[in-house]
Symmetry: C2
Subunit: 333 residues, 2 copies
DNA sequence: CTGAAAGCGCTAACAC
DNA sequence: GTGTTAGCGCTTTCAG
């Protein structure tokens, strides 16, 4: 069979109806008599007719395809979000075009434009960073957008996330109650909205509220080796409790500590602010803010389907509950 | 701006040329005088014209989109493969539609049919399992297919992988040379082609060649907790060396051993047959067959571009080199 | 309930 | 070099 062996036209001829009628039965339009519907269906099955989605897309201006913009597929944080999105997309019969923007060849706004050219019906944006050009690209289009697992200072964009400020404060409190007073914040990127407007303020407020001084914020610590290498600095600065944005980074710190013979959690406590599978399989297991990543993705996709159908939305900014999972990297007194 | 505010027709009118000419400059056709090209380009920029990829696809019968079929996005094995695919796809300006088939709502052949309906120009199949219906769906279509990081008994399908049999034998040899004689094989799924026709035969041959008896093969051990729970059975069976298909499973065994106070690698050695990021961040770090996942993905995508352009292919079955990374879970004498 | 016909926005002969 | 003209395969009024 060649691509597109048989078209709607062939079916129409064989079933002795017009292509309009075939189109109706394919699309589940009720205005078709039962017996003609069945006749058409029979021919469709006999001929193995499959509608050409591209032609459908051109004619109907709906492609039943949504675009995903994600920084890095191999970061489990985004992979788990994507899984939630994917499951709901399947449920509503949408396909997913994924665009990864880690590669510096692909800027955010280009990625958006590319998806728009493909006529996607909606976009889910997962990067923790929404540059101004990207925000403007979104504003220029009618195509609905949802931010998943992140926040932007553009209130106009619907988003699904957790209360990062509250979560971090709770985590800091855990360290504090365990008797750790020299608390540090280890960030991947200090300029993302989540970090700049949620985590950092939460940290500073906590330190101030508890008279713990200025504190220490370490930035651009992004992967296992960054974390591993940071460890000696932490020791030098006398840090005894640390909250780390990425769990793979936290593992780096943990491993460096273990290798140096530092006792975790006695001498240093570690909490990661985003837990993937990795946080739970290392030893000692990492205490973590468990964001419901799968659910965030699923809810974001569900929200997007509503937007694509022009349904009423009760609230554009959705906040899901998180959980502070107390494991072995904290004493949990 | 609405979707498709301005079309090729608007550009033609403004530039005082026919839409054919606009199409030519958009597609880089050289048969356009330099000054008309520039004039058209100027209008394109002024109007922010962006071609509608769906219309292009319908007219040209090429969508510059490839389909990816993957069991599970949150399995780093596939995520790393996907990253290699994605980078090369970007290079050749292809978009990627990803279809996840872990969800039991979506069978392999349905996934294929769905991608075909979307008129993808090619498909990369990454599941370790290619059911007969899926193979037949591939055979029915002209759309090229490449298998990445897996093998099938259908020699007609191009594939990119490593020599699993050789790799496993080398790993078994490492255990053997470390003095471990009670070797076991821990499989995710015994029925995949890679396992049934590569790993299991390699294991059986090795055991026979070294007079090590029947050996022990454990099947359907798929995740961390499966591995964790398997551990006591391994001890009971007197296993002192084990090769594990998935690294997350190997970590489960490792953690159970650690929790039980078993000394790794002294009392038991562990090798994983597919290393992702996880294998290297746990402690003790896992000795692993490092498959060049990124490269496998990249080569598979490159191969697919050739197939999509009807270029000559020198060899359809590509084997990439692997590496046996000796870490802390083996003694490496 | 069904058919005719006009596109959707673009590509690709084919002419000139 | 550039324009004209058929479509690509389907949806969607609009009649009847």
């Amino acid at each position: 069979m060649r691509k597109q062996d048989i078209t709607i036209y062939d079916v129409a001829r064989e079933a002795k109806v017009s292509m309009a009628t075939v189109s109706r039965v394919v699309n589940g339009n009720t205005n078709v008599r039962k017996d003609t519907r069945e006749r058409v269906l029979k021919v469709i099955n006999r001929l193995h007719y499959q509608p050409n989605a591209v032609a459908q897309g051109l004619a109907s201006k709906r492609t039943t395809t949504v675009g995903l913009i994600v920084p890095d597929l191999t970061n489990l944080y985004f992979a788990e979000l994507s899984k939630g999105i994917d499951d709901i997309a399947l449920l509503y019969k949408y396909n997913i075009i994924i665009t990864s923007i880690e590669n510096r060849l692909m800027k955010e706004d280009q990625a958006i434009q590319g998806l728009l050219n493909k006529q996607v019906d909606g976009i889910i944006y997962m990067s923790d960073n929404l540059p101004e050009e990207a925000a403007e690209a979104f504003k220029r289009t009618d195509t609905p957008v949802v931010l998943a697992g992140t926040k932007s200072n553009h209130q106009e964009f619907p988003s699904v996330a957790i209360d990062y400020m509250k979560a971090d404060t709770e985590a800091l409190n855990l360290l504090y109650n365990d008797g750790k007073k020299n608390l540090a914040l280890v960030l991947d990127d200090p300029d993302t909205v989540v970090n700049a407007e949620n985590r950092i303020p939460a940290y500073k407020k906590f330190m101030a509220d508890h008279n713990l001084g200025e504190g220490h914020i370490y930035s651009n610590i992004k992967d296992h080796s960054d974390g591993y290498n940071l460890y000696s600095q932490l020791r030098q600065d006398g840090i005894d409790g640390v909250i780390v944005t990425r769990d793979i980074t936290a593992v780096g710190i943990l491993n460096a500590a273990t290798d140096a013979g530092t006792k975790i959690p006695e001498e240093m406590e570690i909490v990661t602010a985003s837990a993937t599978q990795i946080a739970s399989v290392v030893r000692p297991a990492l205490t973590a803010i468990r964001q419901p990543l799968y659910d965030i993705g699923a809810v974001a996709m569900r929200l997007l389907t509503k937007l694509m159908n022009n349904e009423e939305i009760d609230q554009k900014q959705i906040e899901l509950p998180y959980e502070l999972l107390k494991k072995q990297s904290t004493a949990n007194k």
